[in-house]
Every structure is written in structure tokens, then in C-alpha cells.
């Protein structure tokens, strides 16, 4: 009995220094996602699986999000080091409430959601939204829709807008006329249940409105005290994303390894769509996670106009491209 203890003790003694050494070389950090594991985040999972964060000296844990978890909140308080948060809108809201977070990269360059109607239904243009029932997310998408409809000459009283959550079934069943769908999630469900040719989409960019979403954030403290770690994190993440977009099977595999019950077809579709959103607009020339100041300014002004943001946000303080700029453009291109 005692001998076995001794043996175990020496065994542990042999292992521990090795562990200690590794821990010394790397810094522990966490990445809080905006949602549960899916290929919307494939690049991060692939970078982790291939050890790119470790190579940058970061021992990274990826924490999924969930309902009623706000990434900005967790990063501001230091509970998480990095965050992939809601989007430009949630960064504005956080800065307005004095949460000390800084955006160091933008993933989705364009509005990742659109508004869907039945192709064979009465709605053919935005003007036709008049008198119709619409469901949308009251977390920013509602303002995008209001803005789009305003440009088409409609006023808030002209249509019924209801909150949308959980299910697109009411739309499939014909109880509502317009549904909001992310290009990678709800739209996939709609396509599989109704068929792509049965659906008509209305895109914000067509009305000159852009809402970049999926923002990478750190706390002001991290940005100030550990700039090298932030740069290293970006380098590793971009490397993971480039490979995930090029070798999509590997990207999907990395996510499916974490969440095996996911539907593989859906995840493959999602990665394709995520790739499109990440390489759209200025990112085509400037590379992944590019902070397109023009698009952010226009999203900001749009939200100010609708009084979602009560006071103007100092964009230069909220969005810091210096970490990204430390990486050569050639290494950022997808």
C-alpha cells in the first residue's frame, strides 16, 4: 500500500515539472463566443485544435455563449479574456453604458440576416410590407427593418412588428408574412422545410444599410497591458480561419468534434455562408477581421438617428485596428 503511494508520488513528481514548464511558457486565456459551438466559429476551433494559440503562448479555453449571457459583460468584468460578441450594435451599447471593452476585429462585414417572405405570396417589394405581420429580433434587427422600410416610404404604424424567437414555424405555417433569418441558421431551416425557390429575401445592403456583426472584443485593461497577447490571438485566429475557409471539411470537423449532435449538412452550409460574410466588402482587400471604419460609422449614425444610442460613441476608442495592423495584409487575406 505504502509502496504504491510512493510510486504514485514519484510518478507525479516526474510529471509535475513538465506541466509547470508548459504553464510558464503560456498564458491562460479564454474566448467567450456569442453562441453555442457551430461553424460560425469554426476558425477558432480549428486554430485551437491545431495548436496555433499555444504556438503564440496562449493556453486558450473556448467558452460557448448562451441565452442571457452577454459577451461584453463577461469580457468587461475580466471573467473572459476575449469575446466574440453580438456585433457593432452591442459594442456601441456596451460603450454607451461605460463597459470598458474595445473591439479589435470584425468578423461579419455585412448584415448577416435578411428578411424573408414567400416567393408566391403577395409581398414583392418593400412597399408591400404595408399591413403585413412581421416577426423580427428586437435586438437590433428591428431597427434595420425600420430603416429599410422608412426608405421605402413606410412608417412604423403601417405594419405589425412582433418579436421573433425560437421558431420560424409560424412563418412556415403561414401565420405571419415576413420572418427574419440569419443567412447561415434560420435560412437553412426555412430552405429545408420550404425549399429555396419558395422564398424571397430582402437584404439591408440593397437599401444602403450595413450592420457588421460578430465583433472580437477585449477589455481596455487587456488591450493596454497585454497588446502582444492580443496580437498573438489575432494571428492564431486568422490562421485558423484561413485554413477553415480553405479546407472546409477540417473546419466542420473541428466543430463537430466539440458538438457531435449537430447536423453536418447544416454546419457545412453555415461555414460557406460565414466565409461569404467574412470576406465581403472591404475585407476582400484588407483581409479577415478588418475593421471597416466607414461601415461602422454608418451603423453608428443609423442607430443614433433612431435614438437607439442616446449619446454619440467615441468610435476611435471603441474600435482599435492597431492590433490587426501589426499583421501583414498578405497574412490576413482569406
Amino acid at each position: 500500500m505504502q509502496r504504491r503511494h510512493l510510486l504514485a508520488a514519484t510518478g507525479a513528481a516526474a510529471v509535475l515539472p513538465a506541466l509547470g514548464l508548459r504553464a510558464q511558457g503560456t498564458t491562460k486565456a479564454t474566448l467567450r463566443l456569442k453562441w453555442l459551438p457551430q461553424t460560425q466559429f469554426a476558425g477558432f476551433y480549428l486554430a485551437k485544435a491545431r495548436g496555433y494559440y499555444e504556438a503564440e503562448g496562449i493556453d486558450l479555453t473556448i467558452n460557448p455563449g448562451g441565452p442571457n449571457l452577454l459577451t461584453e459583460n463577461l469580457v468587461a468584468t475580466g471573467a473572459d479574456t476575449f469575446g466574440l460578441s453580438g456585433g457593432t450594435d452591442s459594442v456601441f451599447a456596451a460603450r454607451e453604458k461605460n463597459l470598458p471593452v474595445v473591439c479589435v476585429g470584425v468578423s461579419h462585414q455585412q448584415t448577416p440576416f435578411f428578411f424573408v417572405t414567400r416567393a408566391d405570396g403577395p409581398i414583392r417589394s418593400l412597399q408591400d410590407f404595408k399591413g403585413k405581420t412581421i416577426t423580427t429580433w428586437f435586438t437590433g434587427a428591428n431597427y434595420v427593418l425600420l430603416g429599410m422600410l422608412a426608405k421605402a416610404g413606410l412608417r412604423p404604424g403601417d405594419f405589425t412588428m412582433q418579436p421573433q424567437q425560437v421558431s420560424v414555424t409560424p412563418f412556415v405555417d403561414g401565420q405571419i408574412d415576413v420572418v427574419t433569418a440569419t443567412k447561415y441558421n434560420e435560412f437553412y431551416t426555412l430552405m429545408t422545410r420550404m425549399g429555396r425557390d419558395k422564398l424571397r429575401t430582402f437584404v439591408a445592403e440593397d437599401q444602403g444599410i450595413t450592420f457588421p456583426r460578430d465583433t472580437l472584443i477585449v477589455s481596455e485593461t487587456t488591450a493596454r497591458q497585454k497588446p502582444e497577447m492580443v496580437k498573438g490571438f489575432l494571428r492564431a485566429s486568422i490562421k485558423g480561419w484561413r485554413e477553415a475557409l480553405r479546407d472546409q471539411k477540417a473546419g466542420v470537423d473541428a466543430v463537430m468534434a466539440v458538438a457531435p449532435t449537430l447536423n453536418r449538412d447544416h454546419q457545412e452550409f453555415m461555414l460557406v455562408e460565414a466565409g461569404k460574410l467574412m470576406t465581403a466588402g472591404a475585407a476582400a482587400q484588407q483581409g479577415l477581421f478588418w475593421i471597416d471604419n466607414g461601415a461602422i460609422r454608418s451603423a453608428h449614425d443609423f442607430l443614433r438617428e433612431h435614438e437607439v444610442i442616446k449619446t454619440p460613441v467615441d468610435l476611435a476608442a471603441a474600435y482599435d485596428g492597431s492590433f490587426l495592423n501589426s499583421i501583414a495584409v498578405a497574412d490576413r487575406l482569406a
Partner: protein, 247 residues
């Protein structure tokens, strides 16, 4: 009695003072812990919206509560009269009950939509099972010798149920109903958070997204006050009824 209430008030007051002191003393940001005064102020300034939401949630909770109590007690009575059916049904009942309401909520939303019906169903489910189980436990608690005695005097199962088992079960049924008051509001709020057109859960969900933590706390404050009032009311009714039955 009076002294107990005084002590209770003292305990709550101490907690509130500690909370206020902690939040102010450590200058905690509102996203970690807002001070009590901040929460109260916010609740007062948004009282209109909060009250509307509170009525919405209360309506769902009350409707679900009433349905749950009636159905729960009804099924318990029925099953206690029909032992063979009970043995067959119980496993299924237990299986349904063992799935947390939190897991049923998404399904109820898919089935019944985002409106009030899904919340009422969720509350009825949660309350129904709590009341059902405590009623069944209460009905089982009867003294077998007393039942045998009644039977030997020619009493039928219905009369034994009414005269003996129900009165014996009453305290447990009442306890189940009292516990359910609080659960009814929580379940309504949790289901609202997953999808709703209004209510306190909806306000909380919106406030979290808009990074308005003081609003979250003030909605919780209202929810808490509402639960306590409901709990207290049922408690008072319970005391009256049981007092009346036992005298």
C-alpha cells in the same frame, strides 16, 4: 408572532444595508452589482412599463396556477380511487415529471406559439405536478386502521376519501400549493425569456441585450415582490381553510 415579523424585517434590512454598503463601498459597476438605491430608483422611473409587464406575467401565472391545482388535485384523487390505473399510469407520470419544465418550455413554445398559451401551459405543468405529488403523498398518509374502521362501518371508498383521506391530505396539498405559488411566477418568467410578446421575462431579456443591468434587477425586484404577495396570500387562505377544517 409580532416579534417574529420584527426579526424578519430586521434580517431583510440588514441584508439591504450590507448590499448597499458593498456596492457603494467597493464602487462596484452596475454590471457586477448595482446598489439597492439605484435599483429602486430605476424601478420607480420605469414603473409604468414594469406594472404592465407584471400584470401580463401575473395573468399567465395565475391562469396556469389555477389549471395546475385543479388538474393536479383531480388526478391525485382519481388515481387514489383506482389503484390498478395508478400503478399503470404512475411510471409515465414520473417520466414526464422528471423532465424539467425548462426542457418542456422550448417544445411548448413550438407547439403553442410565443403568446400567453405556452406560458400558461408551462406553469400548469409545473404547478400541476407539484400539487399532484403532494396530494398523492397526503392521500397515502392516511392511517390504515382508521380506514379499516370506517370500512367496517360500511363506508364506501368515496366516503372514506371525503371524510378521512382528504382532510388528512389537506396540509400536504396546501403545502404543495404554497410552494407552487413561487414556482408559477418563475416558470412564467423563464418561458417568457425564451419567447414572448410581453411580461417581466421579456423585459429582463430585452434589458440583458441592451446592457441595462439595473433594469434587469428592477424587473427581478417586481417579480420577487409579486411572488411574495402571491405566496403570502395563499398562505393566509391556507391558514383559514385548515383552521376551519380542523375545528
Amino acid at each position: 408572532m409580532n416579534r417574529g415579523a420584527l426579526r424578519g424585517a430586521l434580517g431583510v434590512a440588514l441584508l439591504l444595508i450590507l448590499w448597499e454598503g458593498l456596492a457603494r463601498g467597493l464602487a462596484l459597476p452596475s454590471y457586477t452589482l448595482p446598489s439597492v438605491s439605484e435599483i429602486l430608483l430605476s424601478a420607480w422611473t420605469t414603473r409604468q412599463a414594469l406594472l404592465t409587464a407584471a400584470w401580463f406575467t401575473l395573468a399567465e401565472a395565475l391562469a396556469g396556477y389555477a389549471i395546475g391545482c385543479v388538474v393536479g388535485i383531480g388526478i391525485a384523487l382519481l388515481l387514489s380511487l383506482l389503484p390498478p390505473v395508478r400503478r399503470g399510469v404512475m411510471p409515465v407520470m414520473m417520466a414526464i415529471n422528471s423532465v424539467p419544465v425548462a426542457a418542456w418550455s422550448p417544445l411548448l413554445l413550438l407547439w403553442l406559439g410565443v403568446g400567453m398559451a405556452s406560458k400558461i401551459a408551462a406553469v400548469a405543468l409545473a404547478v400541476g405536478f407539484t400539487v399532484f405529488l403532494s396530494a398523492l403523498a397526503g392521500l397515502d398518509r392516511v392511517d390504515r386502521r382508521a380506514a379499516d374502521l370506517m370500512r367496517s362501518f360500511g363506508a364506501g371508498p368515496l366516503s372514506i376519501l371525503w371524510r378521512l383521506r382528504l382532510p388528512t391530505a389537506l396540509p400536504l396539498i396546501a403545502a404543495g400549493m404554497r410552494v407552487s405559488t413561487v414556482r408559477s411566477l418563475i416558470v412564467a418568467i423563464v418561458t417568457e425569456m425564451l419567447g414572448a410578446y410581453g411580461g417581466l421575462g421579456w423585459i429582463i431579456y430585452q434589458a440583458v441585450v441592451q446592457i441595462d443591468f439595473v433594469a434587469v434587477w428592477s424587473a427581478i425586484l417586481v417579480a420577487s415582490a409579486l411572488s411574495l404577495a402571491f405566496f403570502g396570500l395563499v398562505g393566509v387562505i391556507e391558514r383559514r381553510v385548515i383552521f376551519w377544517r380542523s375545528s
